[in-house]
Amino acid sequence: MKLGKLQKWMQAVVVHPGSTAAALRSAAARRLLPARKLQSVLLPSPTLSPAERVAVYQEMFPLRMYDALAADYPGLEHFLGGRFLEFAVAYTTAHPSKGYTLNRLGDHVPAFLSKQRRFSPRSFLVNLARLELALTEAFDERELPPLDARAIAAIPEARLAKSRLITVPSLRLVKLEWNAGAYLDSIRDENHNHPKPREGRFFIIVFRRQYAVYRLPVSQAAFDILRDIAAGRTLGEVVERSLGRRGARRASPEDFSRWFRHWTSEGIFAGLKRA
């Protein structure tokens, strides 16, 4: 058998989500090698048949995918429990790895779960996955030194209003409709009292400082301000838009002062683009 054909056949067998017998009989494998001709390609050993030998690879494949996804989605793994392997197989069948690293294998998990009915409650799982993906992305972003608060204080107010704050590359703004953050808290704290999925409105910022990833719940008003800053609006526009909002989305002048001090000390800003 030519090298190219052999590799296509073996890959079809190895990545098949069913048993090895089913993999050898699958349409993708059969097209290249009828199952009855297996011995013409693979030799038996004194202890294993050709099918048992290729099964070593085929059985390890889903476990490798499981481990890679569980590393990025520990909350999802915890919630799904024994069904996480089923999820990992279904996901990697739909989104096989095409990159040289497993680090980005899980990038499509939120979108995948949003179209699945077999894993429930679906909306909660999508929220959990979105939050965990944000944490993974923040982990790998490049590090920039945080903005020194004195750099802001040194700018006259009129010029400051026309300036733009630059957020650190790791900042992610995650708006959730389910209590996924509380669920992750319960796993982190190992309190064994995991909250049941509950609907609500949750605003979370994820960022990294000194190579450690943090997530902080914030108010909707604070979330909207950070979203405007991240979108590249001037500070004057950010303030004006916030004051123009109503109810919980409106920030007071005291809020601005307090939040900016807090965010600066947390290292959420990496620079200031002067007018």
Partner: protein
């Protein structure tokens, strides 16, 4: 009288005894800066991150010699070479001043897919010519001779026309590449395929071996899996002693990737190689 080994033909240094840089040991390394000769770095884990792994690697590379070890080059695949992967690999090698860059004699996927497994090659003239051509090309791109590791494997192809050791020796000579001789892999495959591991080691061109790998494995009775999850067994150390007797002292690395114990436990296991290295000429 056995002639004194002259070292490898590429002039790559004997870095001494090292272990793989693993996340579980970051805190220990950064706080203790332990006495160890060198670290091997899993290249793909550091190519696309600007986070803590990159920070730790830069700190380590400033203080210790490092070599890069890849798992996704897929040198035997019939898919085109991944130019982006090679570009980033070269950039990482330059950044860390890596002494050499290694990967595996295997393929990891076709049709644009990556199984992330080190799948075995059939040992045929067609596969050899294909791998020689690609190895030469990769060495050109990386601007250094590629170093390839012998794999552990669980299947044998019926149409192979030569043993693995002949394939590896011819590949090394004709593509002018270095070899990373994984002694545990030789043992694992010799058990799975019932060949004589000494015959394998004696067929390897000694002056092309620039690094050794040692590791533990899991014996399932009917076959052995290369799990990197344990201490190396005595039979593997005996093979290492035999191999070092042919090549002289060559950079040696202990791999421990599953159920990774404390740094000192892995280092102590790696240090067992000292006894065998001392017994041969430098």
């Amino acid at each position: 009288m056995t002639p004194k080994p002259k070292g490898n033909r590429f002039g790559f240094k004997d870095l001494g005894i090292g272990i793989g840089l693993r996340t579980a040991h970051y805190a220990h390394i950064l706080s203790k800066w332990p006495r160890i000769d060198w670290f091997e770095v899993l290249a793909e884990n550091y190519m696309d991150t600007g986070g803590r792994p990159a920070y730790v690697l830069d700190q380590v590379a400033e203080r210790y010699p490092v070599a890069l070890h890849g798992v996704s080059m897929s040198i035997g695949s019939t898919d085109p070479l991944n130019r982006e992967h090679l570009r980033k690999l070269k950039a990482l090698a330059d950044r860390t001043k890596a002494h050499w860059v290694s990967d595996h004699l295997c393929w990891t996927g076709v049709l644009g897919r990556n199984t992330h497994d080190l799948l075995p090659m059939p040992y045929t003239e067609e596969a050899l010519a294909h791998t020689i051509k690609r190895t030469k090309r990769v060495s050109e791109i990386l601007e250094r001779p590629l170093v390839l590791e012998n794999p552990s494997s669980y299947v044998e192809f019926a149409h192979s026309t030569m043993p693995e050791w002949e394939f590896l020796a011819r590949l090394a000579e004709e593509a002018n590449c270095g070899l990373l001789l994984d002694v545990n892999n030789v043992y694992v495959s010799s058990f799975n395929h019932r060949f004589d591991p000494i015959e394998y080691l004696d067929a390897i061109p000694a002056d092309r071996v620039v690094q050794y790998h040692l590791a533990g494995h899991t014996n399932k009775g009917t076959h052995i899996i290369d799990t990197h999850s344990d201490h190396a067994i005595d039979a593997v150390w005996k093979l290492y002693a035999h191999a070092v007797g042919r090549t002289g002292r060559v950079a040696t690395l202990y791999e421990w990737d599953e159920d990774v114990p404390a740094f000192e436990v892995v280092l102590k296991e790696a240090r067992k190689a000292d006894k065998f290295r001392r017994a041969v000429a430098a």
